[in-house]
Symmetry: C2
Subunit: 271 residues, 2 copies
Amino acid sequence: MLPRFASAWVKDWRSYLSDSGEFVQSLERGLAVIRAFTRERPQLTLTDAAAATGLTRATARRFLMTLASLGYATTDGKHWRLTARVLDLGHSYLASLGLPEIVVDHLDRVAQAVHESASAAVLDGDDIVYVARVESRKIMRVQITVGTRFPAYVTSMGRVLLADLDPSAAERILRASDRRSLTTHTTTEVSELMSELSRVREAGFSLVDQELEMGLRSLAVPVRDGSGRVVAAINVSTTAAGAPGETLESVLPALLAAQSNIEAELASLVR
Amino acid sequence: MLPRFASAWVKDWRSYLSDSGEFVQSLERGLAVIRAFTRERPQLTLTDAAAATGLTRATARRFLMTLASLGYATTDGKHWRLTARVLDLGHSYLASLGLPEIVVDHLDRVAQAVHESASAAVLDGDDIVYVARVESRKIMRVQITVGTRFPAYVTSMGRVLLADLDPSAAERILRASDRRSLTTHTTTEVSELMSELSRVREAGFSLVDQELEMGLRSLAVPVRDGSGRVVAAINVSTTAAGAPGETLESVLPALLAAQSNIEAELASLVR
């Protein structure tokens, strides 16, 4: 059985570590250099890298050359790019999580049953992060991959995950979230969101109707391990064509079946 | 148009950087700590982390605490785990690559047409690394996700990618590979593999029959960008039930259609 892990008390480590000289600033900087590469900036010059990270050009160069010598970056002498080796880092997390391997077959069955995409996500701060996804055959769809993030407060999986937390912890996260009206339907008031979390906790599912994006509806249920702890949320996202009740009727049974099968598999892993 | 990136001349950077004091050892160590977490070791004590990385316990502790203060790790006071934030690093690479977003719809169509899993991979050293994958509905299947690696010499996508290299570069990679007889069908001789790469180059596809795993057959074609450079390989893996010719007949047309559609889309991106 895995123990619960708390992140609250590591928040002040940064200042403690800095004061005691134990904070490894070079690691922070190196990870920032990796994160400087994006869809919009797939390759960087030293000047770009320096601007994106706030480092000097000379420092950015040391980090990029170190990344290159370790196989994480490559260059033509002027432009720098990341290499596929960077994927190993995310893979370390996914492999250590173990979860995606277990859920993907079940998500596949859900996607096949309801002809919509099915996903699994975990909570990270005030975001949800996708850890598994099976695409439906439909053409119209949001571009989501493993590692994609959305704000927890406005997503069905986020609300399921927040609903499992101690209410005071959930409220702290909601207050700290950058809550915006992404559509005219978005709930942004903390008190309303807290009431919604109570409803989700009681009902055992969350239905979010066009709060993240107009035309998009999403239904999520929690997945618990053998100890009863919620380890992930699974969901189906669909168009908001019919009434919300129709989505519930057509999608909830498949999600609940997957939930029960995944939980049985997780429970069998408890040693 | 992206320039070609060479990795050959960064090989000796490590010693150059070390000699000049420019190598950022803390970054190397921090990345090694992240990689110490695996499926078999999803959580580590300080002693575990020290043993896995060759660092002292005190040093491993500094790195884990730094990772925790940056949100990449968490602890219950004794055991340490990675968090979903680590996925952001791999996501930086995938986003900067751009490719997976373009290929996934086409792979989806291939998987649907042939009822088998379809994938895309790039070369990294002597490995291929999966950058996109669409699973088939079949039950029996290898557990492969984005970031999974296989040796290039023994895979259809690897041979397609090696065949695009300058033959001397391909031979250097083959010689450096840990070539093993994974099945009784595996080709391990460099000279035979070089002849096979010539055939692949001429034919425009690679068919690998039970060399990686008995019962598994795989067919791959290259994908070129607007400059004619091979940017990825796409493949279909299937059971080796019928004769290899049957696989070719049933799978190659769908792969060639996807190749041509992806290449048209990549060409339209050239500014």
